[in-house]
Amino acid sequence: MDEKRTCAEASTAWRHQHSPVLALGVWIALCLGCPQEGAAGEGDVDEPDAPLLPDSPRGPGDPLACDPGAKTLHRLNRSEYARTVADLLGPAAGAAAAVHAAAFPADDVAGGFDNNADVLSTSPLLVEKLDAAALAIAAAVFPDGAAATIDRQEAEAVGSDVGTAAGSVWNLFSNGDLTASFTIATTGRYAVRVRADQEAAGDDDAHLGIVVDGRSVLDVDVTGLATYEVETELTAGAHSIGARFDNDFFDAGTDADRNLLVDFLEVEGPLDVASTSPGRARFVSCNPSSEVEGCARASLTPLLRRAFRRPVLDEEVTPYVALVVLATGAGDSFDAGLRLATQAMLLSPNFLYRAEFDDDGDQTHRISTHELAARLSYFLWASMPDETLTLKADDGVLDRPAVLEAEVTRMLADPKARGGVAEALAAQWLNTRGLDVVAPDADLYPLSDDVRAALKQETKLVVQALLDSDRPAPDLLDVDFTFVNAPLAAFYGLPFDAGDDDDGDGFVRVSLAGTNRAGVLTHGAFLTANSYPFRTSPVKRGRWVVDQLLCLDPGDVPPDVPPLNEDPASGSVRERMEAHRSEPRCAACHVLMDPIGFGLESFDPIGRSRTQDADGYDIDDDDVFFDTPFTNPAGLAAALKAQETLPSCMAEKLGSYTLGRGLDVAVAGDACTIDDVTARAAAAGFSLRAILGAIVESDAFQMRTPTRSLE
């Protein structure tokens, strides 16, 4: 249960009170969760000036600052899935994955985030779609048309006008050919093989000629049972391929008889095309025609290791190798076998879920360095660890604070962080994703697809800019620049100079000085996602801020509340809402939500500036918030930045995303973590980077309490 205060309580008592909860949290953590008692109160919480990074990982005997809590088996959500496939199998596979993932059922959301391990569920429909995606992705990595096929014809089934069937072989007992017709789909280079043996007699071994379209391409002496191979160019179409016996020997006196025994004829190819399929060479570096099983194991072991984000045992690889053997045994190519193995890999829970193990029992313990690497990469990149991170996990040094901090810095600087943490914070915490599900009236409030997309990008780029800077995180509320492309600049009425586009993404940074815009609450994405089709909703806008930035809970709507008078003739939206607010049972909540919304009334339902609303009423965007009078959006931002719950709320939201589980202030360990992170981040300037860094340093990020028992 959430301990947030509700409407029924006086609005003066709305502020979060962390401290009592914190003290309780430390106490409980020390008594219940930690391996060793003592040193109570020596946590980092009360000493923000303590060194941020101790020199070595916390030892088994060190006290816990906060109970790290339990984390459930964590399914990849759909954006993580698509990004992981791209990193694992390359761009072609990533493109296929993105197309399929877009049609997966929407991921479950809690607290605004869709990476919450507890609520992410798996329906049969999702598994069905994962299955279809796996098929398409495997085909993109090991394309069918280009893949070599093996066409084998058994000699005894083919037969010849010379000789006789003898068990599983054909006995050419006189000079002659055993010829079969093979249909070649693609012009290219092929391996032609004949498996043969001899019945020896006389001085010479039996001659085997491999004949393609009547022309001998190989002439060998058969010394024993073996597969004889020659490579040759074949054009698309039918070809006759055969084995020729031309040195028959028979001594009637001794009954010595030299014969050629043919087991099968086989054509594999095209050999040169498959290897040129993009990406394939990354996974296959051996020659499958010589040794299917060995080559399959050599190819699949490193792939599975990356897919499962941890070292794999030989016995875990074996079933995947068996799939390749199954395919080649059924006459399909090695690559067809790899397709099957890839499909299985993409459906395996080892790939689809991030598991963390409690093999050592019920003690709260550090997670393994590979688990730590996955936690890092999924929150920063929304994808799998790269080679550098994996090597640090392999070496067991990732949990050293200096190494960890260096990795966070490196990963944040990587372009993948834009699609990872910046995208997630913009789309989920700041809810630009809400733009997907609103339908402003097309006549009154036209919003083109271009502008819609640009609005999402704008918020993301501003988040990214703050991640890249040392500015305090609350500057999100009044940052005096933004990013626009040509359509968005025209929409906002801001200048646009394509010459400023340094990175070629179409967006340029523009100053907002002299406009009524500043900060994410004046972004069209937020303003539109929290409006109705025909009018703004000061309540929705205000409610979102109260929920997501201040972590205050206005509580439930009381039963039988009269709805808003929707008649424009009776006054502006603001006037009608103020009438609504005059009802005492409504006032407790609305006195907080409404002023925020009123402060943003100078933006219409799609975020355009306005001085009058659609009904012709002048906009009034002054109000009072928590006893602080403010004027216009800038004044509102200043009032919000002064709220004491803003920092801890940011820590709570970023922590929930980073940890992939909802932090709940009613849970002592979580409350402790939120305060710990807030204090550490504050000591480091409280930039977004500092908050994320403090979370990574926290026990909640580096440790886990076993989930073995169900409460």
Partner: protein, 451 residues
């Protein structure tokens, strides 16, 4: 009371003989006359005739004064909102007075849209939370499970809708979005997400239709797919052994999906059937979009790809902008009418449009051949209702309910029936028994509702 009738139609000899003699061919027949191969086979084997259940969900209630027929018994002149059903009224039964007690507020306060929608087919008490979800199995899934256990090898069920959602986190008064966007629940914590893109649904249902593949090739592919799933199951078993109880529950969800895939692999190959045109994606014309979804329900019944379906016209508390039928406003907002006659008129327009969509699918189902001269309306029960009675009062009594079809002879259609104070679960029990289940209760049912 049980609902066992002796006068259920039997499979006719004539048709069976025809099939055995090989004279029947499916290819080339017009879409709506083609009988699905699985049904033909069942018929040839003398197996049970198919039974189908289709739930059609409407958001935001109905304007009841223009919905409820004034007299009981045979349907006469239809009220304004029901008028679109006139051409198919012999197939429909209007049921008044049913209530969903699980959706009553009790101590849970506001959130009637979530509560009405979450319990729409489950009639189970919801846990009011946006993190922990707790519901009960929905009637469609109870029926799907029964058909599965009786060896039906098509898709267990199909969940469709015309409003996506789930990703915004913007739910109803503390209720999880899961309650608002799903009506099909496989279990207490397992909502079955719906699909909202008709093209994706079509591909899912009919992509396996490959009449050119040889039997040998099909058999090989089947073996490959089974082998892949065996590897996945092996991985799951190894992983399971190292997980705690809570994690095992998560892994179980995955395994349930894998087993469903296995069942489909074992099922009959889709060989010949005419599912109709592959639809475009989401049509900007809302009516066309809705009908493309309903067409898929019809196609999946025609081809016997599934026997259980649910369709959500919108999500709970939907705020669809109805300007496309000349109603300037959003549905949920208008439904809070406060007794305003102008809003009544708008609601009537919206509600009539909703009944036009119901009429459309009922008309189409009346042409689906389920064998032995029966149509899908003879074999099926279509349950259409809203999650509340009225958008302003959020009442869960006297729900607006239209049933279509005769459920294998269990329903005498073409009537208006009053069932004041009876639980909606009683009607669901009727549906369950008509699908061959022997259950004598569902949720808070007191016995079948004889229609």
């Amino acid at each position: 009371m049980t609902l066992i009738r002796t006068d259920r139609p039997r499979w006719g000899l004539s048709r069976r003989t025809l099939l055995r003699s090989g004279l029947s061919t499916l290819i080339g027949l017009p879409v709506l006359e083609a009988m699905a191969p699985a049904i033909a086979r069942a018929q040839a084997n003398g197996d049970d005739p198919p039974r189908r259940f289709f739930a059609f969900y409407l958001p935001n209630g109905m304007h009841m004064p223009s919905f409820t027929p004034t007299t009981v018994g045979a349907l006469g002149t239809l009220p304004l909102i029901l008028e679109p059903l006139e051409p198919v009224k012999q197939h429909v039964t209007v049921v008044s007075g049913l209530e969903n007690r699980a959706a009553f507020p009790g101590d849970d306060g506001p959130g009637d849209h979530a509560r009405g929608t979450g319990t729409f087919l489950s009639v189970a008490r919801l846990l009011k939370s946006d993190v922990d979800i707790q519901n009960g199995i929905s009637v469609d899934q109870a029926i799907a499970g029964h058909l599965r256990s009786r060896g039906y090898s098509g898709l267990s069920s199909l969940e469709l809708g015309c409003e996506s959602g789930g990703s915004t986190g913007n739910c109803d008064s503390g209720y999880s979005c899961a309650y608002v966007v799903n009506v099909a629940w496989a279990g207490a914590q397992s909502p079955l997400p719906k699909e909202t893109n008709p093209r994706a649904v079509f591909d899912r249902l009919f992509a396996g239709l490959d009449p050119l593949a040889s039997a040998v090739e099909r058999e090989k592919q089947r073996r490959y797919r089974q082998s892949i799933l065996d590897v996945v199951k092996g991985d799951s078993a190894r992983l399971n052994a190292r997980l705690g109880a809570k994690d095992r529950l998560k892994l179980d969800e995955h395994l349930t999906g894998i087993r469903e895939l296995e069942r489909q692999i074992e099922g009959e190959p889709l060989t010949s059937c005419s599912p109709g045109e592959r639809p475009v994606g989401v049509d900007v014309d809302v009516t066309a979009y809705v009908r493309s979804m309903l067409d898929l329900v019809v196609a999946s019944f025609t081809c016997d790809r599934t026997r259980v379906a649910s369709f959500m016209l919108g999500n709970g508390g939907s705020n669809r902008n109805f300007s496309f039928i000349g109603v300037n406003g959003a549905h949920h907002e208008i439904s809070h009418h406060q007794g305003d006659p102008a809003k009544f008129a708008q609601l009537e327009q919206i509600d009539r449009w909703e009944m036009e969509q119901l009429a459309y699918v009922v008309e189409r189902l009346s042409h689906v051949d389920d064998g032995n001269g029966q149509t899908a309306l003879d074999t099926s029960m279509v349950f259409c209702a809203a999650e509340i009675e009225d958008g302003n009062t959020h009442n869960h009594r006297n729900l607006p309910v239209v049933v279509a079809g005769r459920a294998g002879g269990c329903i005498t259609s073409g009537r208006h029936v009053r069932a004041d104070g009876r639980s909606i679960a009683d009607l669901f029990l009727t549906g369950m028994q008509s699908c061959g289940m022997t259950s004598t209760s569902f949720a808070d049912s007191s016995g079948v509702l004889v229609l």
